[in-house]
Structure formats: structure tokens, C-alpha cells
Amino acid sequence: MSQRASQTVAEALAKADVAQTNARASQVVSEALAEADLAQTDARASQIVSEALGQSATTARATQIVVELLVWNYAVPTPPVYPQLPGLGYSVIWEPRFVNAPVQTHESGTEVRIGYGENPLHNFELVYNFLKDTPGTIEFKTFFGFFLAVAGSLGGFCFPNPDDRSVERQDIATTDGSTNVWTLVRTFGAGGFTGTEPVGYVDITAPFNVYFDGVLQLGNTYEVIRTTPVSQQIRFFNTPGAGKKLSVDMSYFYYCRFADDKLTFEKFLHQLWTVSSVKLMSLRR
């Protein structure tokens, strides 16, 4: 094995050349301990504060509060409701009208009769003896504005027929154990002669009660589906068992439009108007 030297250092301890060594002075101070002249000494105050560590009378502030709901079924908004004004007078014409095919009569006298629609339509003719237009009474402007808002015969609206406005314990159906949706209808007539038709719109500002075999049901067991006029429905979240008689209390509207595109208002005295004929007709949709 050979030895190898990787580094060789020569170190020498030498005495520096005194002649080549410089002394350096970077600062010289002269300090004297003396007594100041008291007459010439000022005291200075630049700031003074008093600090206290304590609890403040903190108030809580509320600037906004809302109730947010996660909701189902944003149906088409209900059409406007026909205004109810005190000047409505007599006569009132109410004309149910079935839509049937013309009767075909054979030479033998035998007839062929066909109905186009199961349920009748309804025509109404109303008279307004007066509509006030005084600073505090806006009957004329209300009715005039309503006609403008629905654009004559173009727009449908809810007509509260005072002679056919609500029902109590109206029979809707007998449950079959598989159906959970029914169309809401009302039955009109007496003396054993009646007709049953779907209501135009349910008036949900009035009480709406539901019964099975005469027993009132909780409001959270069903919903009223009002999206389609003349096809108002009640839907139960859980399908009812078979053989129960379903009945309801409800108020309702006819779904109507103006029969004409014009309406004649006549001013017969200062601030008093009259409308001699307002014709309405019910709609299927």
C-alpha cells in the first residue's frame, strides 16, 4: 500500500513589522460631569392620555331579516279578478249555453243530436247604473282601467258570479285507492235537477276545507293545483285508500273574458258615469 499526501501546509509564526503597522482612531470624545444651571432647564409635556381597560356598553344591531322559503310549483299567476263595484244594477242576464252540433233531422223525423262539449259556457250581461269619479271615489277609473288592462276581449279574468260563488261539502269523488288527483267541480241546481261543472279558478282567499267521509283533513296532506283555468285540481301527497267520499268547501270564480273589444261609458251627470251593457262570456281555457 502506498501513502499519498493530499495537502501540504507550511505555517510560519512571524512577528509583524512594527514600522508597517498603523494605529487608527475613529472617534474621540471628551466627557465632563458637570452640574446644569437649574434656572435654564425646561420641562416639556407633549401628550398625556388616560387609558382605562374596561367593558363598553356595546349594542347589537339588526339591519335586515328575511324569511326564505324553498317552494314547489311556481304556477302561472292567477288572472285579475273582475272588480266588484257598487253601481252594478239590474237586470243581470245569465245565459248558460251548450255547444252542440246543429240537430240533423231525417225525413222520417228521426234526429241526430251531437254535443261538442260536455259542459256549458256562460254568458253574462251586466248593467252599471253609476260609476263615481270623484276625488275620493275611483269606481269609474277602476272599471275603465280594468277593461284597458285585459285589452278588451283578449285577456281572461276571474269573474265572481254573486249567484254562484261557493259550495259546501261539494262531492268531488269517491276514492279508488289508486287515484290521488281530482278536478274540482261544483254542482248547481235543485229539486233533483242539477249540473256539475269544473270551476274556473278556486278562490284561495276564502276558506278551503277538505273532507273524507265528512272528516276534515289536515291542510298539509294535499295541495290545490291552480295552474290551469277550468281544470283546478286537488292532489293528495299520499294516495287515499279506496271507498272514501271526498268533498270540499270552496269559493270559486268563473273564468271569463269581455265579449267585445269595446265598452261604452256614458257620462250622464257631473262625476257620474254609466255603462248600459257589459257582456262577459266564460272560457274553457
Binding site: 367593558q55 356598553a57 324569511v67 326564505e68 310549483n73 302561472v76 292567477t78 298539509n220
Partner: protein, 339 residues
């Protein structure tokens, strides 16, 4: 739980105010704007939404209405507050009406048919996500109430250390969607008629504002009623407010009625904006009264700047059943100073 939280975006002032939410749902980005909401109700939000939840969920149902101008991406994120990591993203491509699902690494893992949505049109979307590693995850996308447009199963949806998400991102990076009526559900069976643990459909958020005092004890800054101080449709900070330094004092207010087209109420939450005006601790709880039953939400410590606190009530506390329209129209809500 079922119903975790929802937001109709109806009561915010601006993007800065948007980030004042606290609790179960928070937003971290101020760069959003508000405009008229879906169907003309309230407001909707557009811009980069960065939503974070207070806890993580391994399986969830997210629902929201979207009006996509060109494109949008909904990303479901783990560790949202800490920087985030996508578990998966749903990309709406307006050029062909197609929806693609990308994993957290940015790889396309499935696409819908084309033309399943139209640009500049409101549509409602539900996204079910199951977060799992090793091909154990799934994603299902449903349009409106029940039109399934894409189902992916046996996919890997975990791309971070956690098999959960605790937030979502929408918008930003050139996306231009308008968002409204957002809800978030977990798979727990909720009570009442609406368990809210699956595809629950196209829902809307209806926001009711105070209309009058029921019983009040706080001091109002001005005006004739305490309700008038807290009924603004866009939060007005210290312009109008009620205040109190007396523990136990509460304001109970009447609210607007529901519009008559509402058929069913899936859930209710009370949201308010509160702050303290000096040092010292102030705590507050919100209240809800239905019928004769008055209940309180969580006790919250107030910060020195306004923060929104939300308490959710999926069921009517007076009946223990789902809410009815009549009960909603008669309810009272407010706030109580605890300390």
C-alpha cells in the same frame, strides 16, 4: 337533515355584501353582480361564485336554476377555504348544448347528448354526486324535474385526500351564467312530506320581508316601526337598524304572505344581518313563532361588521309537519339578544 341550505339571492346589496354570509353557507368572492331573478322574482346572481359549506359531504344533491349565456362550469370542491381541489366538474358548453363531466385531474369522463340545453334560457339542473376513489363514485345530472341527461357510475370522483366536497364554484374564467334558486341536500332522510334526500325537482326560493311589528323591544334608529328598519330588499347596513344592549330583549315581526300560486313549501329559513357596535361580546339568536310555538335558532357571536346568520326550519315547529301556506302566512320571526 336532508335539506342543508338554500339561497335565492334575493336580499343582497352587492358583491361585498354577498360575502357577509356566515355559518353553514359562505361565499368568498366579491366579484358577483345581481339582476332580476328567474320568472321575475327577486334577484339572481352572476359572476364567479365561490360557495363553501361548513362541513363535508360524501354524497349530495345540488339543485339550481341556470341561465347560460355561452358556457359555465360547476365544480364541486374539497377544502374550499384552504385553496380547494376539484373532485369533479360539470361543464355546460353553449356552442352545442352539451354537458361534460371532468374529473379532478381535468380529464373528460362523460358527456351528454348535444342540445340538452339552450343558451340564454332559464333551465333547472340537479346534480347528484357520490365522491369515492377507485371507480366507486357516480354523477347524475337531471334537467328540470325529471329529465335525466347524463348518468355516470363506476367513476373515480375523489381526487383529493378527502372523499368529500365542502363547496362549489360556478362562473368566472370567461363563464357567463346567471344563477338562481340554489339548494343543497344530503342523503339523510328529512322529516315531513319532503325528505329532501334525492332528486326533489325544480324548486324556487321565495323571500318574504317584514311588513310590521308583532311584539318589539329593541330600539329603532328612526321610523315608525321596528319592521321598517330591517325590511329593505337590499341590505342597507347602518342606514336603518334596530339596536339593543339589554339581554333578553327581542323583536318579533310579521312578514309578507306567500303569493297565491305556491302549492307546497319544502323548507323555511330565517336569515338576518347583525353586528355589534363596540368591543365586548354580544350574542344573538333568531326566533320563529308558528301558532303558539316559539322556537330559537343557534346562538351566534356578533362580529363588528354585519354578518348574515341563517337558521333552517324544514318543518313547522308548531305541528312537527311540513309547512302549509296558511302557517307561513301567519308566522312571526325575529331576533333575541342573548348576552
Amino acid at each position: 337533515m336532508g335539506l342543508v341550505v338554500f339561497d335565492g339571492y334575493d336580499h343582497y346589496l352587492n358583491g361585498n355584501d354577498f360575502t357577509n354570509r356566515s355559518g353553514v353557507l359562505q361565499y368568498s368572492n366579491t366579484g358577483v353582480t345581481f339582476q332580476t331573478g328567474r320568472f321575475g322574482y327577486g334577484k339572481a346572481v352572476s359572476g364567479a361564485i365561490r360557495a363553501s359549506l361548513s362541513s363535508g359531504f360524501s354524497e349530495f344533491y345540488w339543485g339550481s336554476a341556470l341561465n347560460i349565456g355561452d358556457t359555465d362550469t360547476i365544480s364541486f370542491v374539497d377544502n374550499q377555504v384552504g385553496g380547494g381541489g376539484n373532485q369533479f366538474s360539470v361543464v355546460f358548453d353553449g356552442s352545442n348544448g352539451q354537458i361534460g363531466v371532468f374529473n379532478g385531474a381535468g380529464t373528460l369522463i362523460g358527456s351528454s347528448a348535444t342540445n340538452v340545453f339552450s343558451v340564454n334560457t332559464w333551465s333547472h339542473w340537479q346534480i347528484h354526486g357520490l365522491i369515492a376513489p377507485s371507480s366507486g363514485g357516480s354523477v347524475t345530472i337531471v334537467r328540470d324535474t325529471s329529465d335525466t341527461v347524463l348518468t355516470l357510475s363506476g367513476i373515480t370522483t375523489q381526487h383529493t385526500t378527502n372523499a368529500t366536497i365542502n363547496g362549489w364554484n360556478s362562473g368566472g374564467l370567461g363563464a357567463n351564467a346567471i344563477v338562481d334558486d340554489t339548494y343543497f341536500l344530503d342523503t339523510t332522510v328529512g322529516g315531513g312530506l319532503y325528505p329532501c334526500n334525492g332528486f326533489i325537482g325544480d324548486l324556487r326560493v321565495d323571500t318574504l320581508f317584514p311588513v310590521g311589528d308583532d311584539a318589539v323591544q329593541w330600539t329603532r334608529l328612526s321610523g315608525a316601526t321596528n319592521a321598517s328598519m330591517v325590511n329593505e330588499t337590499a341590505m342597507d347596513s347602518d342606514t336603518t337598524y334596530n339596536f339593543s344592549a339589554t339581554p333578553g330583549q327581542e323583536d318579533r315581526l310579521n312578514f309578507q304572505s306567500l303569493v297565491n300560486t305556491i302549492n307546497a313549501v319544502v323548507g323555511l329559513q330565517v336569515t338576518g344581518a347583525y353586528r355589534k357596535d363596540d368591543a365586548n361580546v354580544r350574542t344573538l339568536k333568531q326566533l320563529l313563532k308558528s301558532g303558539a310555538t316559539e322556537v330559537y335558532g343557534a346562538t351566534n357571536t356578533l362580529p363588528s361588521t354585519y354578518a348574515y346568520f341563517t337558521d333552517i326550519f324544514p318543518l313547522d315547529p308548531n305541528t312537527g309537519l311540513s309547512w302549509t301556506v296558511a302557517a307561513i302566512n301567519a308566522l312571526k320571526a325575529g331576533y333575541n339578544l342573548v348576552s
